[in-house]
């Protein structure tokens, strides 16, 4: 991955705590729910109403240096969409948004998922650059561009 970023070992929950977006009690509640039902902590905190998707995206942007991209009015070329199959986009919660030369730009709700980025590189033979987007933006984009 070409995107430079700071190496921070802190979990997303801790980062949200440090920035006073959530409190300790809310984090523990979210972690308990995650342990019981699985899922991603960011999505669980949003479902519980403790944090907003945009706040999580901003934390990832500020802490790791991933640029934030609101996908709302973004139009994606179908040729770019065809690079990544729908099942891969759905499972990793990402969507390809542009390709320039040998670089493919994708938007992800969890850009820390390095395995997903490696898979996209293996699948596409492109170098991947990552943007952060909210889960709901990506879900909407997937629903719009992937008909399968």
């Amino acid at each position: 991955m070409a995107m430079p970023r700071r190496i921070v070992n802190k979990q997303l929950g801790e980062l949200l705590l440090e920035r006073s977006i959530i409190n300790r009690e809310q984090l523990e509640k979210g972690l308990t729910l995650q342990k019981d039902k699985g899922g991603l902590i960011g999505e669980i905190l949003v479902e519980l109403g403790f944090a907003k998707e945009v706040e999580i995206a901003h934390v990832l942007t500020a802490q790791y240096g991933f640029p934030y991209l609101p996908l709302g009015n973004y139009e994606i070329d179908p040729d770019v969409i065809s690079i990544i199959p729908g099942r891969v986009a759905r499972q990793y919660m990402l969507i390809p948004i542009d390709k320039i030369g040998n670089n493919l730009t994708i938007a992800m709700s969890n850009p820390l998922n390095i395995q997903a980025v490696e898979d996209i590189e293996l699948l596409s033979n492109y170098k991947v650059q990552t943007f952060v987007a909210t889960s709901s933006d990506i879900k909407n984009a997937i629903a719009k561009y992937y008909k399968e």
Binding site: G38, G39, L40, P85, R87, V88, R90, Q91, Y92, M93, N110, N113, Q115, A116, E118, D119, L122, L123
Partner: protein, 241 residues
């Protein structure tokens, strides 16, 4: 319980069938014989038609007894077969190597894929085939072949982590589920195991005793979202499909 429709008494329990067949084939004919001998054979008087009728009745009763016994045993055998089939379904290990069997690996792979989808993680599947195994088996026999397979199983088990399920899904075909590992990571792992297995037999003087290993790797989500898709893709990579 499987029921046959051949006889009226098919619905009876095995215990009842055996009890009645015992009376029909042993006790009743015996009593009839005693009656015949005492009343007709011993005095030897001319009432042969009546004696013949009784003998036929005796044979008829014995035949019903025989059919009942046959039915009872057939029912017992069917139940035994069903039990064996159920036991086989419950079996999860390969008897030779102690690794998991094909059915378990496929079920577990499907579970791991579901977990991977929920957690937005990959799940990889690796196949390793010991080449020239059939020729080795033909030349050196079953005992030596089994030793080779057990050695391979042990080496694979040592290389992966404790929680990675390993199975033998065909005679010389091993499978590994690598949860939360993507294709690159799985390819590295497959390559490491391949080298280890080939090295283990490389010092053999007789080239028939040296093996090469072929690997096939697939991954969820890149190659599919179902266990059978991943197995098929890994087999394709091996050149099986």
């Amino acid at each position: 319980m499987i029921k046959s429709k051949r006889f009226l008494f098919t619905t009876w329990s095995i215990k009842d069938k055996l009890k009645i067949s015992f009376y029909l084939t042993v006790v009743l004919p015996l009593l009839v014989c005693v009656y015949l001998i005492s009343d007709y054979i011993l005095p030897i008087i001319g009432i042969s038609a009546y004696v013949t009728a009784l003998v036929f009745l005796n044979i008829f009763i014995a035949m019903i007894g025989f059919l009942l016994i046959r039915e009872a045993f057939s029912q017992m055998m069917m139940e035994n077969e069903n039990l064996t089939r159920r036991m086989e379904k419950l079996e999860i290990n390969d008897a030779l190597t102690g690794l998991y069997n094909d059915a378990f690996i496929r079920n577990r792979l499907q579970e791991e894929i579901k977990r991977a989808i929920i957690h937005q993680r990959p799940c990889a599947f690796v196949l390793l085939r010991l080449e020239s195994f059939a020729a080795f088996h033909a030349k050196f026999g079953s005992s030596r072949s089994e030793t080779v397979l057990r050695k391979c199983a042990s080496l694979i088990r040592e290389t992966v982590t404790e929680i990675d399920p390993v199975g033998r899904i065909q005679e010389n075909l091993f499978a590994i589920i690598l949860a939360e590992r993507n294709k690159r990571q799985a390819q590295r792992m497959a390559s490491e195991i391949k080298q280890k297995l080939e090295l283990a037999f490389s010092s053999e003087q007789d080239y028939h005793k040296r093996f090469t290993v072929t690997t096939g790797v697939s991954e969820n989500p890149l190659d599919g979202i179902r266990a059978d898709e991943l197995v098929e893709k890994a087999q394709e990579a091996l050149g099986i499909v």
